[in-house]
């Protein structure tokens, strides 16, 4: 159980969270913080999935409805809604997710490439991995986690593409 990060390259820590009934994961190293949902300041002239901007320790950080961004139905806010603040390159962004689940260690070798998805114009899914899900009952249910490609979610890139 106590697998550490020492053997990096082989093993990766991911943060898992849900959007609707799907479980997603992002690389732990990109995570800056998890914060409670707080209504951001809305912006003009932005795609609807950009919910606005919020103040992250003095920095103005955009908040993105991740479900909408990925083409799912928009998240409905509830008490466990939260914002994952991540670093994408030099920039920071907050993603609205339905519920943060766990931090799990996976073996990079177990990651399967995502099959070509035509749903999105550019796939934001970097790969698929199966994890054992901690459930209330003792049975170890396996579940599929969609690993996100954060670079593909970079706001600048996407919006600039639209503008061009």
């Amino acid at each position: 159980m106590s697998k550490t990060q020492e053997t990096e390259g082989e093993e990766r820590k991911i943060v898992t969270f849900t959007l609707g009934h799907q479980m997603f994961g992002i690389d732990m190293r990109a995570l800056i913080e998890i914060r409670e949902w707080e209504e951001p300041t809305p912006l003009p002239s932005v795609p609807s999935y950009v919910k606005g901007v919020t103040n992250l320790r003095g920095a103005v950080v955009p908040v993105v409805g991740l479900a909408e961004r990925l083409g799912w139905t928009p998240s409905v806010l509830h008490s466990r809604s939260c914002i994952l603040v991540v670093a994408i390159g030099q920039r920071q962004a907050g993603f609205l997710v339905d519920e943060v689940a766990d931090i799990v260690v996976i073996d990079s070798a177990d990651i399967q490439p995502a099959p070509d998805v035509e749903v999105n114009e550019q796939s934001a899914i970097a790969g698929l991995v199966r994890i054992e899900r901690r459930t209330s009952d003792a049975s170890h249910a396996e579940t599929m986690v969609l690993l996100l490609d954060l670079d593909a979610l970079s706001l600048t890139r996407h919006i600039m593409d639209i503008a061009a």
């Binding site: 300041t41 003009p44 002239s45 901007v53 003095g58 103005v60 920039r91 706001l155 600048t156």
Partner: protein
């Protein structure tokens, strides 16, 4: 070690850049007819110090070229060559090549082809001035440090091996034929730790014919105590008498100031020069990396001062550190606001708090002024560009600049370079006509481009105007229809047609020239300017010329703002734009069309815009329940903006949206308010220009 050398090298290139600016100003003044000794000497010194530094850093090609350029300048300075228009023209050419050389040395790219210019320089030397009269030691002694200048006369005087016999009594002829030099050089103990390399200095002295006579190792400690990064040795070098003292001194330009430097005639140990050499390089070892120069006082006087004099006290500071300082001050301002918000109104009025905010304000102003630089830095590249453009197009253009001492934030200067370049290219390529066309149109053959900068409130207005043919509206319109930018039956005002040249994908050049028709057009210029929080305006009169005005923010950091409410959101209006606030009486605001309204104010009708609607915040409010803020805009004059209420006045720290997102039209950025929430800063100019803004808001989030 090599990192530190790189850093010092970086300083050298900054100094080169400064030197080039000084040289260009001087040469331009000479071209304009001012051939006073001061001006010529200024140019000489600038080129001379570039040469000196280039030798120390081993940029052979740059040194070789600057050396020969300097030879000519020296003769001009001495009055042996008249500073005629022709000579000045050749020297301007040489200056261009010198800039290229510096750029090549800096980037490590290929050296420019300087053969033709060198020939011209040598031709001046040969035809106008006797190359090496015995009575004029200066050019001779300076002459040959590396032995590759093929000026025959210099060889006689120059003895690379230091064998020159001293055959005259010393007291007889000290000036004319002195004894050789003895130089004692002991790098300070910390010199190497600071990135100095004594070897380079010694090599340079050797290149001038010097020879290490002795090395004093008496200070060398035992091996156990030896710190390999400290300097312990003192070298004694002999140099031939023909070398000029200044040339020797130059070798020590980049030596730490507390080093031992003694330069004397062989038989007399002269100490005084030590002081001068030390004083002239006071800042180098302090510096961490190539950075912004902070010059106390004016920059210009440095030109007039003789080199040996101590320069204005200045220190180089990494720009990143300044930014950090500015950010911290910004945070201080925010915390101050939070503190003030927490206190009761009575406590807020107590003397300590206003005192604190006054101090904070002063610190802020000071930090900002550190970042302010004369806009000359952005303008300085224009003359060179114009010379190139004239060569390429055969058009004749005269440049008139005004207001180049206007101070702007360093960040603004850095970012307007490209838009400026593009607009100048545009003006020459599309605006100014060929000399024949101009004469046919009754204009002087030489076109004029005026480049001006002035401060207006919290904005800097930079104008580029030409007296060319103006925008051909028919052609622009036809082109826009052809490109599908506007509909064929669109009714457009002249201004709207003019602004079409900034539309993405628009280019009117009939043949794509290699000057301005390279795919990136005025739309890039406009978006660059807008990304800076500025605005681009175009005024054009057919046959008389076109003026581009860039309205830029003075600083990118702090803004005096008015906090207004719209629905649940708070926004910041830049206070400098606000003229007055009106509580409309019933009937004072009237509709002139289903989408436009005016307010009657002291007999005048001003357009009114409902900001909430523009931001997609619906919720009909009667004008009587709202406030109308009259603002002044660059583009549309006085305009009323309708908001729900006004909160208060506050200084806000501008946080750019593009740090984590991208610039948004209509917004000048965002700020963090006292309670930690974010308020968006409105860009008045973008707001009042209704056309374009509403369409830009199409994608507005609900």
């Amino acid at each position: 070690m090599s990192d530190e050398l790189d850093e010092i090298q970086g300083i050298f290139f900054e100094e080169c850049a400064e030197g080039l600016v000084i040289a260009e100003e001087g040469l331009s003044a000479m071209a304009a007819g001012d051939v006073s000794a001061d001006v010529i000497a200024g140019v000489f010194r600038a080129v001379h110090s570039i040469k000196g530094g280039s030798g120390a850093f081993g940029h052979g090609a740059l040194q070789a070229f600057s050396h020969r350029f300097e030879n000519v300048l020296d003769e001009v300075r001495a009055g042996h060559i008249p500073a005629s228009a022709e000579v000045t023209r050749i020297m301007l050419n040489a200056f261009d090549i010198l800039s290229d050389h510096v750029a090549a040395a800096q980037s490590g790219s290929a050296f420019p082809d300087d053969a033709a210019t060198l020939e011209q320089l040598d031709a001046i030397l040969a035809s106008k001035g006797a190359p090496a009269e015995p009575g004029a030691p200066a050019p001779v002694a300076e002459a040959d440090e590396f032995g590759f200048t093929p000026v025959a006369a210099m060889v006689e005087d120059f003895d690379p091996f230091g064998f020159e016999p001293v055959m005259v009594a010393l007291d007889d002829l000290v000036a004319a034929e002195p004894a050789g030099w003895t130089v004692r050089f002991g790098p300070s103990r910390a010199a190497m730790a600071n990135g100095a390399e004594p070897m380079l200095v010694i090599r340079e002295l050797e290149d001038m014919g010097g020879r290490v006579a002795a090395a004093d190792t008496s200070r060398l400690p035992g091996l156990r105590d030896l710190d390999p990064e400290e300097g312990y040795l003192v070298w004694t070098l002999d140099l031939p008498a023909s070398v000029e003292e200044q040339a020797i001194r130059d070798c020590f330009d980049f030596v730490a100031p507390d080093s031992l430097i003694e330069i004397g005639r062989a038989d007399v140990a002269i100490a005084p020069p030590v002081v001068e050499a030390a004083v002239s390089v006071p800042v180098i070892e302090e510096t961490e990396r190539p950075a912004l120069t902070l010059v106390a006082g004016n920059v210009a006087p440095a030109v007039e001062k003789p080199k040996a004099e101590a320069p204005a006290q200045s220190i180089r500071v990494d720009l990143g550190k300044l930014d950090q300082l500015l950010n911290l001050v910004g945070e201080l301002v925010i915390r101050g606001s939070i503190l003030s918000d927490r206190l009761s109104p009575a406590d807020q009025e107590r003397v300590e708090l206003p005192e604190l905010s006054r101090l904070t304000r002063q610190i802020q102003d000071n930090v900002m002024s550190l970042r302010a630089q004369p806009i000359r830095q952005a303008f300085s590249r224009v003359p060179r560009m114009l010379r190139d453009l004239m060569g390429e197009t055969g058009k004749q253009v005269q440049l008139v600049t005004t207001g180049e001492t206007t101070e702007v934030d360093k960040g603004v200067i850095e970012k307007i370079g490209d838009p400026l370049t593009h607009m100048i290219r545009n003006a020459v390529d599309h605006g100014i006509e060929s000399p024949e066309e101009r004469i046919a149109a009754g204009k002087p053959a030489e076109g004029t481009i005026r480049l001006s900068a002035e401060q207006k409130g919290a904005r800097i207005i930079v104008r580029i105007s030409d007296d060319g043919r103006g925008i051909n509206r028919e052609r622009v319109r036809a082109k826009a229809i052809e490109r599908g930018i506007i509909a064929a039956d669109a009714q457009l005002s002249d201004e709207e047609i003019d602004s079409l040249i900034c539309a993405p994908g628009f280019s009117t050049a009939e043949t794509i020239s290699n000057i301005s028709g390279r795919g990136v057009g005025m739309d890039v210029v406009r978006s660059n300017v807008e990304a800076l929080g500025g605005r681009l305006d175009i005024q054009s009169v057919p046959g008389e010329g076109t003026t581009f005005s860039m309205g830029l923010p003075l600083t990118l950091a702090i803004l005096d703002g008015m906090i207004v409410r719209l629905g649940k959101q708070r926004y910041v209006l830049p206070l400098t734009n606000v003229i007055e606030t009106v509580q409309p009486a019933p009937g004072q605001v009237q509709a002139t069309s289903p989408t436009s309204e005016v307010i009657e104010l002291r007999g005048q009708y001003l357009p009114v815009r409902r900001v909430g609607e523009m931001f997609g915040l619906t919720g009909e409010r009667r004008p009587e329940d709202s406030l109308v803020i009259i603002v002044e805009s660059e583009a549309a004059g006085h305009v009323g903006l309708m908001v729900d209420t006004i909160d208060n006045r506050r200084e806000v720290v501008i946080k750019s949206l593009e740090d984590n997102l991208h610039p948004i039209r209509g917004l000048g950025g965002a700020t963090v308010l006292g309670d930690g929430s974010i308020a968006l800063i409105l860009d008045i100019d973008a707001l009042v220009v209704a056309t374009g803004f509403k369409s830009a808001l199409k994608g507005m989030a609900a």
